[in-house]
Amino acid sequence: MDFDFLQPTDLDEVCKLLNEYKGKVKIISGGTDFMIDLHKDELSPEIEYIIDVSNLRDLNYIKEDDNKIIIGAGTTHNEIANNPIVNKWAPVLAKATNSIGSPQIRNRGTLAGNIVTASPAADSVPALLVLNGKVKIKTSSTTKEIPLEDFFIKPYQSKINQDELIVEISFKKPPMECKSGFKKLTRRKAVDKARLNIAVLALQNNIDEIEILRIAPGSITPTPERFEKTENILLNKRPTKELIKKAAEQVSSTMIEKSGYRWSTEYKKPVIKTMTRRILTRVLEVE
């Protein structure tokens, strides 16, 4: 595979090049997906230019203002997992990014990379979905922001156009009293893709009623999404074992509704049910 390697020094130049070489260009950042495609000779033959954004400071930051947490697209999984702001406001994201790959992969792989690949099993995505994350996308002339849940089209395909670049991921700070959890099931402990993963964020009032509940299971639907029907089973109620059981069963049946009956369904059906039950029991502290 032959290509020219371009290393722009700022974001405007990246967008200009994306526009100029539209369709013939691909972005590399952490490279943890790109380099596999390169090795397997699976990059599109139309690619003539590679733009490296891995050293762009414009894309590497974690900031907070009064309402929001804002993460630069090129921030690595390890930078996110170890960041005090993220750990304070969104431990669910710290946990999810810390579960990705290996230390070597987490030192290179980036948040935008994990999103843009549009893998149904991406670990950061369920966490960002329960945080109601938004993706900021730039071209040479426009900037727009779309909710993460609207970003995916189908497995490995997102709404990003050839002249567009993800520049930022942001989410509103959840109320400080929120509780959350992330759970991932893998065949081995490290360096493995999720067979199943799930993120939960919840807020209960002083009489234990659930005021906020967001549930996003991963790896069970073509594109990751929040399971609002399941959330509604528990919303505005005091959590009980029975309600949680009902919610867990609902996740399982929604999976089949959305993904059909697949070769893995026999396995995933009981396992996602159990994972949902366990994580809800823990997060909602039901005895």
Binding site: D4, I28, L38, H39, S102, P103, Q104, I105, V191
Partner: protein, 160 residues
């Protein structure tokens, strides 16, 4: 395909090379600089045999395009030896604890454990396991490697 002028520091030495853009950092280290301690195992970022330290962080050199290493500082297993012929305490401990069998994973293991001991001179077993989670060994079952890292930490702490 235009060649790329790559300037970077490897094991303390400045290099300026002309490379084709589709080369990986791994290829440049092995083929252009003859640093064959850097091993190619899976080529897809899973096994950690090609682990080197880039700007203070462990990375898989098969996952980095050569051009991405522009102006960086790289440390490979060849750079662990401080004086000619004198092994780094980690290397010595790997020998003494029987942590080297076929030896293919050893350079990568050494870089991950070196990186760990730089920031955490007295790691417990869980911290050691986390640090080498991205390095596969198919011979030892990891026990001897974990023992070796403990032994090296002990010896290095005694020395300082």
């Amino acid at each position: 395909m235009e060649t790329l002028s790559l300037e970077f520091k490897v094991n303390g030495q400045e290099h300026k090379l002309s490379v084709t853009p589709n080369k990986r950092l791994l290829d440049v280290l092995r083929e252009d600089l003859n640093l064959i301690g850097v091993k190619e195992g899976c080529s897809v970022g899973e096994c950690g045999a090609c682990t080197v330290i880039m700007d203070g962080k462990i990375i898989n050199s098969c996952m980095v395009l050569a051009g991405q290493a522009q102006n960086s500082e790289i440390l490979t297993v060849e750079g662990l030896e401080k004086e000619e012929g004198k092994l780094h305490p980690l290397q010595q401990a790997f020998l003494d604890a029987g942590a080297v069998q076929c030896g293919f994973c050893t350079p990568g293991m050494l870089m991950s454990s070196y990186n760990l001991l730089q920031s955490n001179p007295d790691p417990d077993e869980e911290e050691i396991k986390d640090a080498i989670a991205g390095n596969f060994c198919r011979c030892t079952g990891y026990k001897q490697i974990i023992d070796a890292i403990k032994l090296a930490a002990e010896r290095m702490n005694r020395q300082s």
